[in-house]
């Protein structure tokens, strides 16, 4: 199984012929991901080291059966690219591009949600199911197969935790970066629900950070909906109070968004929280051992 990306993933890359786009497209393919197509308007008919390039996603889907898209176009073209995916019948959109205007992403989110599309990002590192598929920019070589699900708002911090797990001999079912932008396609809860339903996942590590109320909501969800153990890590205990969005922000979330507050919320729902990535990995190892025992 694994979640979001796996052996059934048939990937089309939007912006596959750009500098970064082609590097990661080929890297994802080299990992074993079934990269079936690239899309660059005007380059239809060409190929990227054997990967056929199409002018439109609709053509790519029709010709190759692509079901997942990686969006690697500049931010100004990303909204168009995402709508193009939805229209072409793509089921999973992974948007690496960062810097989409928030109002555009707000419309996209509310458009795709009732249509059952799974989206990661914008501004996310993608998803990696070790041994199956890697879609995005996660350095796959530092992860190994296993039964720990990992979900994070932060790219490099995800790698750090994953790396620590690997050092302890643990592997992952899927590593998911949900993205750091104000409005992203999947919340912690969306991904936790998928891990809960995934047979291969035994333990979940949730990597949060200061700001917003997503971790607090996730804590509630874990308390009420999850049977699998969750271990947490929160970054930003020593961060200075960040810039706030005027006065309205804190009222909305009903939380100050501090690392301490998030830790407490998670612990109140039975989630053990590490204060360093190393400690979080060790907790995960303990919990995974207990699950096995």
């Amino acid at each position: 199984m694994a979640i979001i990306v796996d052996n059934d993933t048939k990937l089309v890359v939007q912006g596959a012929t750009g500098r970064e786009g082609s590097f990661h497209t080929l890297r994802n393919r080299a990992y074993g991901t079934d990269v079936v197509a690239g899309v660059t308007p005007g380059k239809g008919g060409q190929d990227l080291e054997g990967i056929p390039i199409f002018d439109t996603v609709a053509e790519a889907v029709e010709e190759t059966g692509a079901n997942t898209s990686m969006v690697f176009v500049p931010a100004r073209f990303a909204a168009d690219a995402i709508y193009e995916d939805v229209d072409a019948g793509i089921e999973t959109v992974i948007c690496i591009a960062e810097g989409l205007p928030a109002h555009e992403m707000l419309r996209i989110f509310n458009y795709i949600k009732p249509r059952g599309i799974t989206m990661l990002g914008p501004n996310c590192p993608g998803a990696l199911s070790p041994g199956k598929a890697n879609v995005g920019i996660i350095p796959a070589e530092i992860f190994r197969e296993g039964r720990i699900g990992l979900v994070s708002r932060s790219g490099t911090l995800t790698y750090q935790i994953g790396h620590e797990l690997t050092q302890l001999g643990l592997g992952n079912s899927t590593i998911v970066g949900i993205g750091g932008d104000p409005v992203v396609g999947s919340s912690f809860i969306d991904v936790l629900a998928k891990f809960e339903a995934d047979e291969e996942t035994e333990v979940v590590v949730l990597v949060g950070e200061i700001g917003g109320a997503e971790e607090e909501k996730a804590a509630e969800f874990i308390g009420s909906e999850m049977t699998k153990p969750v271990v947490g890590y929160i970054a930003g205990f020593s961060a200075p109070p960040g810039k706030t969005m005027g006065h309205a922000g804190a009222i909305i979330s009903g939380t100050a968004g501090t690392a301490e507050g998030k830790k407490e919320a998670l612990e109140a729902h039975g989630v053990r929280v590490g204060t360093t990535p190393t400690e979080a990995a060790q907790l995960a190892a303990e919990v995974a051992g207990a699950v096995r025992a």
């Binding site: 990661h24 205007p101 928030a102 104000p182 961060a239």
Partner: protein
Amino acid sequence: MDLYEYQGKELFRRFGIPTSEGRLALTPAEARAAAEQLGGQVVVKAQVLTGGRGKAGGVKLADGPDDAEQKAAEILGLDINGHLVRKLWVESASEIAKEYYLSITFDRGEKKALFMLTTEGGIEIEQVAEETPEKLARLHVDPLEGYQPYQARRLIYGAGIDNPSEQKQLLDIIGRLYACFVGTDAMLCEINPLIVTPEGEVRALDSKFTVDDNALYKHPDIAEMRDPESVPPEERAAREKGVTYVKLDGEVGILGNGAGLVMSTLDVITLAGGRPANFCDLGGGGDAQGVVDALEVIIADPQVRSIFFNIFGGITRGDEVARGILTALEQIGIKHPIVVRLDGTNAEEGRELLAEAGPDNLHVEPTMLEGAKRAVELAA
């Protein structure tokens, strides 16, 4: 990007939201001239991108030009929560019968815009939310539905506003505020207070306005409103170089890639007994120039005693970072002890490059924890 009161009000006016007449003044003389043009009583208001200016003496009533000039002289140069007052907004004084509060912002959790309206304006809205939540009418707007007049009605009736003339004006203002919010790609449009004059006229007396940085390319006129002097000079220098930098109060300079990892690094430094000197995120880059730029900003802080370089490569490649570090050290001849921890994409190659060519003050450590400990030791 946060806007000053006077800039936010300019945008309000563009969308037809009523405000008082006013003038910008950078000197007491300009404040006098503004008061002369406006006539009558004026209010002299410090323009700072922070709250609490009233309590800090940043808002004063003036009876006429002379008084305005004097009040301006008192306010200019004030330090309000670390913000130096360099600009004033001189505005015709308003008689106030009632103070309401109206805002629209992003609810990131609900992924919808959120309107809030209460008759308990003029005070901190957090206090209203906490003490009398029943007086705070809230309503989400689905962006696909867009603004519909019933939303304004729900807010108005929900806040208990029953004067028909106020209802009518508010219905109009709420619709215009939504148009303003969407039309300027705002993250927040807040009017506190939204006053009712003794004559029954509803008008925005203040503005708090944040525009989405990612959408500024669509609004060159708003982008021009950015005041480079509103941020501390060291952050400004960093920003000009494309580096995200926040000055802190410790000795260990910190450089990393990705906000989450940098925050985690601050925590680990703190746990190791050190004090971070800054937050500095290289972002997705890591080429030589980016590293040079970031290091220059960090060592400009005289408190810095050691530097911890914490890189986990993803899109950033370890060998490029290593080359960047080596080039940077050559170019700017840093004397500070530098601890480097490198992992991820092409980390092996990067570590080898550093081991081969690194100067004596460069220490390569295998893990984040060990790197942090070493950096703290070296700062001692």
